[in-house]
């Protein structure tokens, strides 16, 4: 009997169908897979939702996939990293009037941070996740993060903050599959998770009530003081329930009767005011990011043309970028874009290639 040296891979498994199929396909292709599920919570007190990943049931689901595919599975302790790197920034952002995007932080610090560190532990050469994205070597020998074949499932927006250096070691087996194909693979491999419901919203706030989660579950008190709704001219037009409850571009749940539809245009945390205005007032000419994470060997040239996405569901807008201080960029849209929400990620593309991203620091209106 000859024992070929098999490539050892660490597979992140949330318990959902995507990461299960990703790990299973790697195992089927002959990789020596070790599955891991990150424990982000103390589960004793968390309500169980079938849509939430990383719950006790989800851990069991991941284990059953590992058993089925005959590879080992471990639960890794990541509560501390999750709390300090994802949850706290999430709270800080809401409390300061921004709209956080914790998935980017979770990918950056947990899946492509903490787990990358653990690869060395088991001598793994590859990190496998169930993200819909592609990694490919370019003619110039650089590594590129590319959008998934399934455009509706593409998750590069959530991956733009991961370190460029990990790209050569990352595998996304689902990047070339559609969701239907993934479910068919799960069914073919007889993985019991094949018909699990799609996870929605944030995994740790399955009901989508972020403000309620922050205040009731985490005891957040910042951003809960009532204050003034003001119009574009600064006149008080009502009372808001605390800036925590609002996000730029929001229309529903404002509780203000007006002749025209009102949207949240701006949130001023120090002044504790929320500015409302008509839809047209949401339009921004551009934005300034925080320090960019480039998924390139070197930042693009000043004045480069890009496609910028400013929220998960955003199709992207043609824009020009200019370097700003401390690694930030200024993004100027060709056509004004509505609802640029500070805190959300701005992710830049050149065609299919994801160039990198950063949280939006501020919008530009002029």
């Amino acid at each position: 009997m000859t024992t070929a040296v098999r490539t050892r891979a660490l597979a992140a498994m949330s318990g959902g169908v995507d990461s299960a199929v990703a790990a299973a396909l790697m195992a089927e292709s002959g990789c020596d897979v070790t599955g891991v599920t990150m424990k982000l919570w103390c589960y004793g007190t968390t309500p169980v939702s079938p849509r939430a990943c990383c719950t006790l049931d989800a851990i069991d689901d991941a284990r059953s996939v590992a058993r089925r595919m005959n590879f080992p599975h471990f639960v890794v302790e990541a509560e501390e990293v999750f709390r300090t790197r994802v949850l706290q920034p999430f709270l800080d952002a809401y409390a300061s009037g921004r709209t956080p995007y914790p998935c980017a932080l979770c990918n950056q610090h947990l899946k492509f941070g903490d787990l990358v560190g653990r690869m060395e532990l088991i001598g793994a050469e590859l990190l496998v996740t169930g993200h819909y994205a592609q990694v490919a070597r370019q003619p110039d020998d650089s590594w590129a993060l590319l959008r998934a074949i399934d455009r509706h499932k593409d998750q590069t927006y959530a991956l733009a903050g991961i370190p460029y250096g990990v790209l050569p070691r990352v595998r996304f087996p689902l990047g070339s599959l559609t969701k239907e194909e993934v479910r068919a693979q799960a069914s073919r491999l007889a993985l019991t998770v094949w018909d699990k419901p799609e996870s929605q919203d944030l995994c740790f706030v399955p009901d989508g009530d972020y403000a309620g989660f922050a205040t009731r579950k985490l005891g957040e008190t910042r951003g809960t003081a009532h204050g003034a709704f003001v119009d574009l001219a600064g006149r008080t037009i009502g009372e808001h329930e605390g800036i925590l409850h609002y996000t730029v571009g929001q229309r529903r749940g404002l509780g203000i009767a007006a002749s025209e539809r009102l949207y949240v245009i701006d949130i001023d945390a120090p002044g504790n005011t929320v500015t409302l205005g008509p839809r047209a007032a949401l339009d921004c000419d551009g934005l300034v990011t925080g320090p960019m994470n480039w998924l390139l060997p070197a930042p693009p040239a000043d004045g480069a043309r890009v496609t910028a996405r400013i929220r998960y569901g955003h199709a992207g807008a043609d824009a020009v970028i200019h370097a700003r201080e401390e690694g930030a960029v200024e993004v100027r849209f060709d056509v004004p874009q509505p609802a640029v929400a500070p805190g959300q990620s701005c992710v830049l593309y050149d065609g299919e290639r994801c160039l990198g991203g950063a949280p939006i620091a501020s919008s530009i209106r002029r």
């Binding site: 070790t34 589960y43 532990l121």
Partner: protein
């Protein structure tokens, strides 16, 4: 694979498997049946009962077969506490007991009993004088013979003497000690002693409670008089036969295995100290099982070490696993006052009949490679 998790479960001995195969190939009659086929099966069970009794120096009539240690602890604690409820409604358990005992105590609490927890000293041992401080209505005291995580032996005889002097009954979970150290139920003078087959080279799913003659015990499972009316249900014949054979072999090999394992432990601990001079081996100032080493290597978290060692082909245990399978600091180490940052680095290595000197050396080499990798990751 180098298997150093024998405290979790140890391989079934080939002779045991053979005895079980024979039992399974038997007539298939019910041991309770009156015909001679039934009597023949009954004889197998009674032979096993004698062998199990001999392992712990008890009388065969005192042996009640159960489905394992957890059932044994539940039967002894709940059955005794219920039987003694007129005597008092406080049950004292040590804070380092196995989950099975904590589970039975939780049931008793739900039934209206008060549970008192006996502390342990930093060396991992229970102080027998604590018995004098227990409330007057304490009916039962539960103390394990050897702790499953640290291997520290408990002063059961001294606790039993004090408890009996105050009119309290004594339960002893001897699951982890059986087959590793001589056990004399008479000398220990306990009323209920629990053992399990799969820790001594027998099959999983069978165990026994040794019940002192005359000690009150209300059965949990009531059936048609099996096990002297103390545990209803048709006997697990192949399991009991395997248990009996394993007990017989464990008794035969006890002295030589103990010496051999002690030498391996010495070799292993010296090797650990060479790899990490700051390693803390828990419970070393108390008498311990010859096969158990619970060590914290500062900065090398258990979950990291567990994965790294698994990848190296070394199977160990990281203290007590919590419900999700993640690593939580062990309550046993916490009870001993081990600081959290050290407790989250605890690993339990437990050797057994199949462990060789070569395996110990190979495991040490793997640990030597794993420690710097684990230390390179985020601290606890």
């Amino acid at each position: 694979m180098i298997y150093l998790d024998h405290n979790a479960s140890t391989p079934v001995r080939p002779e045991v498997a053979e005895a079980m195969r024979e039992a399974l190939a038997g007539s298939g009659a019910n041991p309770s049946s009156s015909h001679r086929e039934g009597q023949h099966e009954r004889a197998r069970i009674e032979q096993a009962r004698e062998r199990v009794a001999a392992l712990v120096h008890a009388h065969p009539d005192q042996v009640v077969f159960t489905s394992g240690g957890t059932e044994g602890d539940h039967l002894a604690l709940m059955g005794a506490a219920w039987g003694l409820r007129e005597r008092g409604k406080t049950v004292a358990i040590s804070s380092i007991e196995h989950h099975a005992v904590h589970g039975a105590a939780a049931w008793l609490k739900d039934l209206g009993f008060t549970i008192a927890h006996l502390p342990v000293r930093p060396d991992g041992m229970t102080d027998p004088s604590i018995i004098n401080d227990l409330p007057r209505d304490t009916s039962l005291v539960s103390l394990m013979l050897a702790n499953n995580e640290t291997g520290v032996l408990q002063p059961v005889a001294a606790v039993a003497a004090r408890a009996h002097a105050r009119g309290m009954r004594v339960h002893c979970d001897a699951v982890q000690c059986a087959g590793k150290m001589p056990i004399d139920t008479d000398a220990l003078d306990v009323d209920y002693l629990v053992i399990s087959a799969h820790k001594i080279g027998g099959p999983k799913g069978v165990g026994a409670v040794i019940v002192r003659t005359g000690a009150p015990l209300t059965p949990l499972l009531r059936g048609s008089g099996h096990e002297r009316g103390l545990r209803g249900g048709t006997e697990n014949l192949p399991g009991i036969v395997g248990f009996g054979r394993a007990a017989e072999l464990a008794l035969r090999d006890l002295a030589s295995e103990r010496t051999r394992l002690l030498a391996l432990r010495e070799r292993f601990e010296n090797g650990l100290r060479a790899i990490a001079p700051d390693a803390v081996i828990h419970g070393t100032s108390a008498p311990r099982l010859p096969n158990t080493v619970n060590v914290s290597i500062p900065g090398a978290r258990s979950d990291h070490m567990l994965m790294a060692l698994d990848a190296e082909g070394v199977a160990v245990s990281a203290g007590a696993a919590c419900a999700s399978g993640g690593v939580e600091p062990s309550p046993v180490l916490a009870a001993m006052g081990v600081p959290r940052e050290l407790a989250v680095c605890a690993l339990r290595f437990s050797s057994g009949r199949t462990t060789t000197e070569r395996e110990i050396d190979d495991a040490l080499a793997a640990i030597g490679r794993a420690v710097p990798k684990a230390r390179a990751l985020a601290p606890a």
